[in-house]
Symmetry: C2
Amino acid sequence: MKQWNVVITGFGTVGKQAARLLAQRQGYYREKYDADVRLVGAARSTSALYDANGLGEEALLEWGASGKRVDTTFSGYEFLASSHADILIETGPSDLKTGGPGLIYIKQALEQGMHAIAVSKGALVVDFAGLSALAKQKGVHLKISGATAAALPTIDLLQYNFAGCQILGIEGVFTGTTNFVLTKMMEEGITSEEAILRAQQMGIAEPDPSFDIDGWDTACKVTILANAAFDAQVKLSDVSRASVREVTDEQIAAWKAAGLTPKLIGSIQKTPQGIKAAVELQAVDAAHPFATVKGTTKAVRVETDVMGELLVIGGKSDPVAAAAAALKDLEHIIRGQRAY
Amino acid sequence: MKQWNVVITGFGTVGKQAARLLAQRQGYYREKYDADVRLVGAARSTSALYDANGLGEEALLEWGASGKRVDTTFSGYEFLASSHADILIETGPSDLKTGGPGLIYIKQALEQGMHAIAVSKGALVVDFAGLSALAKQKGVHLKISGATAAALPTIDLLQYNFAGCQILGIEGVFTGTTNFVLTKMMEEGITSEEAILRAQQMGIAEPDPSFDIDGWDTACKVTILANAAFDAQVKLSDVSRASVREVTDEQIAAWKAAGLTPKLIGSIQKTPQGIKAAVELQAVDAAHPFATVKGTTKAVRVETDVMGELLVIGGKSDPVAAAAAALKDLEHIIRGQRAY
């Protein structure tokens, strides 16, 4: 039985769910793949836990509750170097300027010959090309489902389900939070501030909602997808961006009167000038496939040359679903199904 | 550069399109996978063409136009045995009782250590379990996208996009022809006979439309999916079936009055009594996700434990798209991405 040692960095909400699901699925991995998959390490900004025999739920809970610095000599670098892990799952916060610790961890993991699964977006936004080339050079996988709409398949569609097709374009409602805010404004006639507050109260929006609300989340996703699946060299700063915060009551009233529905739509199109990625606030009519995509529901539409068009709606938008998307990537790694 | 020799059996409409696409993509395969993919053989019921250096378009056209028995000593068995091919694409007519020549070809190919891609359904309906076990024993792939809604991903969703999730159920509008007939009856107030005739005139329905119209096509797809993705032992005769032919003008009028839309829905559900596969004519209300799926458009809805629900609509329903689905399978084989 092959042993797969896993470490999770940036151990927060999604990391905890990934650890829980992974423990739950150990029997399944053994039976289906003859694989002994164990979580041997977990690290957050100031401390880390490590056990070559696998971290139990209790140890993780105690560590999570304590908040204390378990390993006083902690350094992320040493942690990864000494972990002898096979797979890194990086779930930390996204630093869109430098890539932050996530970029350092993923780069180091790949350099050490580990496979890497990114849930956080910062590293991929800042240097997808570099990381991808490094993974290729080392013969390991770099998987990104968790960073590109998670339970809603996006990179899968482009690289797996439509293998061999020419992708003519892709557009999507990629951020559940913004769609929730727009839906509430339309359906309940509240302002964007009120709708954002509502989303925060329901745990849908972060305390600082800017990343989602101001279009950064969608912009990150289209940047990563453009570079990963269209061989583009798109920078986050190249992507036009729109904020749901700017939507006024007057606009909402006008859209309603015209039978239109506002959606924050991320898109990637092939143009004569090359790949164009954008985030725009569009008011779509009732016949548009995104018109009925409401609340936190996400959606993506892909247009191809010979297989036609595909509209995909759904996929849960919670930490468990994000963790499950990362473990889907992990399972593809165990199967040897690398990204293309 | 690794050489991949391909043969196509049951060389008809889809087979021709597969040959054309394959020729078109040879440069792409070389560049992307360092793979020299060539069509070395093509066979139909009474004759076969073979060229170890690859069949050119002209040779195929001439053979197709002539209809003559090129190889007078033709036997499918000898053809496959002497082809030294790596991949079989079987696109012949479906014999739902015996599996027909398709079953013989696929079985023989697997036994010879060839990978097999099924577009026709007969062999899979009759003996998926046997073929799958044989493929496993020989360490080769058995791929079935072309036989399970082609450009609309179904088996992909269950085995790849949702890897690790528990699939709670799946339902779909799996047959474009029946959906076209029902849509025409609802929208134009014509009888099922008239709608079927219209579909035949447009090349959507076969001269003998029974396979689609009487629910066999949908029943085949759910039978294959149940056995391939749910580890079930469903026989085609276990699947309840409904025919679009039986829909009366009175029913249509009543559904219209009630704001309902009839759909031929294939489904697979986990029940306490095991896996249940069914084909039913359901009148769905306007809020149902299939209500807006019109004409030849297909759709599938999958419900999972932790990733939520996914609704997928679209994927072209023509011979080119079916061929492209088979070549997607071929590309996964080249990548070493076998089915799970």
